[in-house]
Symmetry: none
Subunit: 422 residues, 2 copies
Amino acid sequence: VPSAEIVAVGTELLLGQLVDTNTAFIAQALAGIGMDVHGTHTVGDNRERIAELVGGALERADGVITSGGLGPTVDDVTKEAVCDALGAGTRVDGEAIEAMEALFASAGRELRENNRKQAILPHGATVLKNAHGTAPGFVAWRADGKFVACVPGVPFEMKAMVAGQLLPLLERHFHLRETIVTHTLHTFGIAESEIDHRIADLFEQSDNPKIAVLAHRFTCDVKLNGKAQNREEAQALIAPMADEIRARLGAVIYGSDSETLAFVVLQLMRERGERLGVAESCTGGLVSAELTAVAGASDVFVGGVVAYDNDTKTRVLGVPPKRIAEFGAVSGEVASDMAQGARTNLGSDWAVSVTGVAGPSGGTSEKPVGLVYAAIVGPYGVTAHRLQLSGERAQVQQRATIHALGLLWRRLRAEPKGARET
Amino acid sequence: VPSAEIVAVGTELLLGQLVDTNTAFIAQALAGIGMDVHGTHTVGDNRERIAELVGGALERADGVITSGGLGPTVDDVTKEAVCDALGAGTRVDGEAIEAMEALFASAGRELRENNRKQAILPHGATVLKNAHGTAPGFVAWRADGKFVACVPGVPFEMKAMVAGQLLPLLERHFHLRETIVTHTLHTFGIAESEIDHRIADLFEQSDNPKIAVLAHRFTCDVKLNGKAQNREEAQALIAPMADEIRARLGAVIYGSDSETLAFVVLQLMRERGERLGVAESCTGGLVSAELTAVAGASDVFVGGVVAYDNDTKTRVLGVPPKRIAEFGAVSGEVASDMAQGARTNLGSDWAVSVTGVAGPSGGTSEKPVGLVYAAIVGPYGVTAHRLQLSGERAQVQQRATIHALGLLWRRLRAEPKGARET
């Protein structure tokens, strides 16, 4: 199995001021085409140290992938360091210059000398075009077939380049015939330890697919990694195990792979021909944002109201001031009123609402930080739920968002369309 | 200046299924006491590879800090690998056994044999007690004064151990009297290469403070790292350079350090005694979410409307259907109407609106994906802005959010309260 090491370049990473997420993405991408990652490294924008690290990694592995340090500034030295490590000269890539000129012209800006620096590449390197920015990437080859691939540090530029160009190139170069397929089952409303308890025996028995339980964004995932000659065989290995886990965990699995709670909720509602509105206070727009992160949300999601101020709850959602005065803005009663107001005023079939104390201030002994109410209103009535969530402000907001969507998902599943129509 | 390298241990990190945040924390902690971090590494739970990496790092730096792999299971081999690298024997730490017994007894559980393994330490090592878990950490010393420190991988156990025990120990050992202070200036509306162009000479002249330009979340940061005997001296080194950069970049700097655009907008509006509403379409709640991510937003931010559906733009924001039919939902006209509708219906002094084509579908040759209009309405009228943004759906949404807040910030700064009152 061919192997690689990954190097993230950037002094700001070393100072701990930025958390590197590129390396995890690249590692996962390489695992997907059956390459082994032996180690990963971070190094500052220091030509000598980068060259030393890349040279050392090439002794241990078949290739090195670096991210970062391809920018136009004087402290971007990855390319020079890689040339040092490979003993390679450089050339100017004419196409890269043209692409940059076009990009700058469309933005009404002129190409500066320091941008031209970005088009200098090691001799004999294969260019990786950058669809989203100025810095092209490249793969430089050593005579013995080992390689150094350099991609930009900006995550979305890097991701497009790795997935669209680098992986196919490596698959061809190494004639990769082993692939790892990952199948992920997402659960809502069950603890990691409970999942562990229910499937611990499968865990120990099964080496391929490998099973892992991961707490992730306030829900829990079960990951199955199957290794085989091709995707189909890997999927065939995974399928019976996935069925067994589905049978054991049953009703808590809301989706798989790239399906988010928001995606599943929109999907279920689309199938029913119904539409959704949102009213939120402490989550401040996150429930709407989670829904609209899904492409094509517009046929189901009509819109939302961020009723942060009590006056807005009354003005836009029609919550009676008397109810706020009697029960408080953070209460099941006001959550229900908000949901019903959203359903009426937005003209949707369903609405979900959230109101709570996100903190850090605003908590009382009776209504502490983390107390959140979520309400769901649909064709068959309203339900309100009381949640006590932990964590800092951002965590409370995110947890409340996931819980609101999870509770809505449960009701959609429990109430088939037309079931209770009279 | 004493130097260190950091090693994160764990096969799950190499597979990219978990993003390592420990390394960034340890790096920042070391920078804070004036140690240089030369490089960081990740390696799987493999005794040979860990030993090789630790041994290599000890050649380059004065010490190595590892996190992870101290647990009770068979695949936890960090300790054995470190002993290999140092050529050290082991001993059982009686105190660590007692501490574990006490911890287990208080949980009503019995100590298992594999837990006892956690009390085995390299000969001569200094124990780092674990206040939050079973695995003690340690610092093992080489005869030449170089060290290997091992701390657990569980973030909150690691953090307490590093901050409470490891840092004071390293400060004493290396007689550290140096500290690094970071000051960050945030800009909006200027390209990285343009900043570079304006301050390139400072960049090259100044070694302390060190200057770095970072593209970050669709804005650009200028970072100044000052190194001195104590915080005050470091800040005194930074201050004149920060002033010089402020003078050169002037009006594009919106804030510093932890100040976000949303924070600065809320602050400026709070000083004016005015309040803000939001109307958004393609950003789907992100503008509101960005504002409510700031603690204490509620005195300024009254609320927002996510008018995703055209019908919602009319129902809740009062945009005339005729205007939508004439100009299209993605237009400066409708953006202006949305902002004005939000200001009126939410009863705020200011409102910001966003409408656009986030993609991936919905684009036309006339209104392509990435076309976004933002409008700002304040006491002195409405301005609409046309933006052509690049990237995938999520990037377009995030860029539109940052631009909307940036444009609002510009107007707040350009229109002092009362300046144009008639």
